[in-house]
């Protein structure tokens, strides 16, 4: 067999191996998608949430349900029962996605109590603000509560 012929055979073998490798892993990923479609993953870590996963869908439905109570452009402070800054940050991003009419920030944001007009509490309740402003319930269900944060000078009239 000539050197040219051997080189050609080697080239064909490399190309065929590469194509076979890619095709194998393509089938593998499609099968993983099939399994995910049959039983969608349901990660507890919010950073791993994806569209069409049960927790993300339920959260989206809840935020969308609360949405009409929030005026266009209002600053909405978000908090939850997770107790984790990272989890709350990602939940806030999901809430902002489902509430495009509002400016959604996490409770940990330095401007939260200064600029917040509404407080969206997911799976938790809030009784008081750090600066003594009143919280009035705008909407509530078994998942969470939407509060209106009264302006600082809206407090009860002095006697």
């Amino acid at each position: 067999m000539s050197i040219d012929r051997r080189a050609a055979l080697l080239r064909h073998a490399v190309a065929a191996l590469l194509l076979g490798w890619i095709a194998f892993w393509f089938v593998y990923e499609v099968d993983a998608l099939r399994r995910a479609a049959a039983a969608p993953p349901n990660p507890g870590v919010v950073g791993q949430w994806r569209l069409a996963t049960p927790r993300a869908e339920a959260f989206g439905h809840w935020v969308t349900k609360m949405g009409p109570q929030v005026p266009q452009g209002a600053v909405v402070v978000f908090t939850s029962s997770t107790g984790s800054t990272t989890q709350d940050f990602f939940l806030t991003l999901w809430a902002a996605y489902h509430l495009p009419r509002a400016r959604v920030i996490p409770l940990q944001h330095p401007q939260a109590w200064k600029t917040g007009e509404y407080l969206l509490a997911y799976d938790t309740t809030v009784d008081e603000t750090p600066d003594g402003r009143r919280l009035s319930v705008t909407a509530a269900d078994h998942v969470g509560v939407l509060y209106r944060i009264d302006a600082a000078d809206d407090g009860p009239l002095a006697p």
């Binding site: 590469l18 194509l19 990923e29 995910a36 479609a37 569209l51 069409a52």
Partner: protein, 463 residues
Amino acid sequence: MSVLVVAFVTAACVAVGAGLLAAAGALPWPPAAAGRSARAAAAFEAAALAFVAGLVACFLLLLAFDLAGVPWRRRTLVPGLAALAAANLAAGRYRRRRGALTVPVAGAPPGWGDGAAGVAVAAVAWGCWSRLAAIPDFVYHWGAKGKRYQQAGGIDYAFLADPLRLTDHPDYPNLLPSLYAATAHLRGFFDERAMLLFSPLFVAAAVLAARGALVRGTASPPYRQGGTAAVALAAAMFAIGYRMAGGGDLVVSLALLSALPALLPAAQDAAVEGRGARDAAAATRADDLRLGWAAALAAAVKIEGVPLAALLIGVRWWLGGAGRRFAVRRLPRLALPAAAVVVPWAAANLVHGLFQENNTGSWDGERLAVVARAALEVFATREWHGLPWLLAALPAVLLVRRLRPAAALLLAQAGFYLAVYLTSPVDTEFYVLSSLPRLLYHLLLPALVLYALALAPRQSGRK
């Protein structure tokens, strides 16, 4: 309805782009002698090129609406798109009567690789329909912006400049969120499925562009089919596994692959083989125009697409084709579409103060070790299944003269990514780990095309 609205937007983009390319005499078409099946396959390739040009042209229409204070609503978008498509198609018809509709290109009949590519695109479409293949950034960034622009009836600079905003990348070019916002208006609401269904179209167009590069790079039929299949299967493998649907990286990859044929000098020879200098000049002009629109698409989607566009234009300008290298008169057709996208974007970013501090920084060589460690981790990304290691062979392609410009371009873009990692004042390891797997998608698919061309025996009768 999700499918119908995406079909409408796609048809509008293809009509606008086909008209534009035809009017400029840059619509590729094989000669009648190529046979019916080859002509049918070439029609798909031409449609993919028209889609690229049409996406940019429709985005420019949206920008014009924005500048003129015309809100994006169904009542403004439908007549606007219809008028743009009609005007471009009329211009194309006018040019056809004058005999300048198309540039002859080599055609190739469909085969088993095209069938495999169809299966791959269908798999991506399934992932998008189920929404399970959606990228997390669709929620954090691309889709969130699309919803805001839909609400605002245009690009919402107040939102992008809002100091309370959490959404990332306020300084990115706006083609994709604008496409989503316009589609949402046509649909009546923000339909996630409709938005995600653009992704398989981007993959399909990218695969058709890769096929075009393989045909024009004169790969022999088995390598042409194998190369097409490899690009499509690899694109789908990663898009499904890593969940890339709805993000901008698929579009950057589409732009790069669409520009690839114009970076293959041999393609020029094949296209104008046996023809006179006039046809050679026409083919050069057509390649310049097609690359110009592809570069504009890259620049309209992601911030790293802007230097990519500059590189594409620079390499093509240097190549020259049948014309002179660095001829000034070629510059408008190469760079005008990209300039039309970049100038308004840069001006708006400057006016609204959107450029981010982490876009610039000083060179820090000490980051190199961190980048290398993180890159090794990324190369082992499960969803890539080892394919990034193929990029190690890219410098060897520089030895193949006809593939050298394209390989040099890919290496230069990789060098740009490395430079960003070495200069950005952010957590370097996190930056590499979170972005490099997606950036590899830009480089790997064109690299697969180059490998197929490098390995393939040249077809007889061609240089």
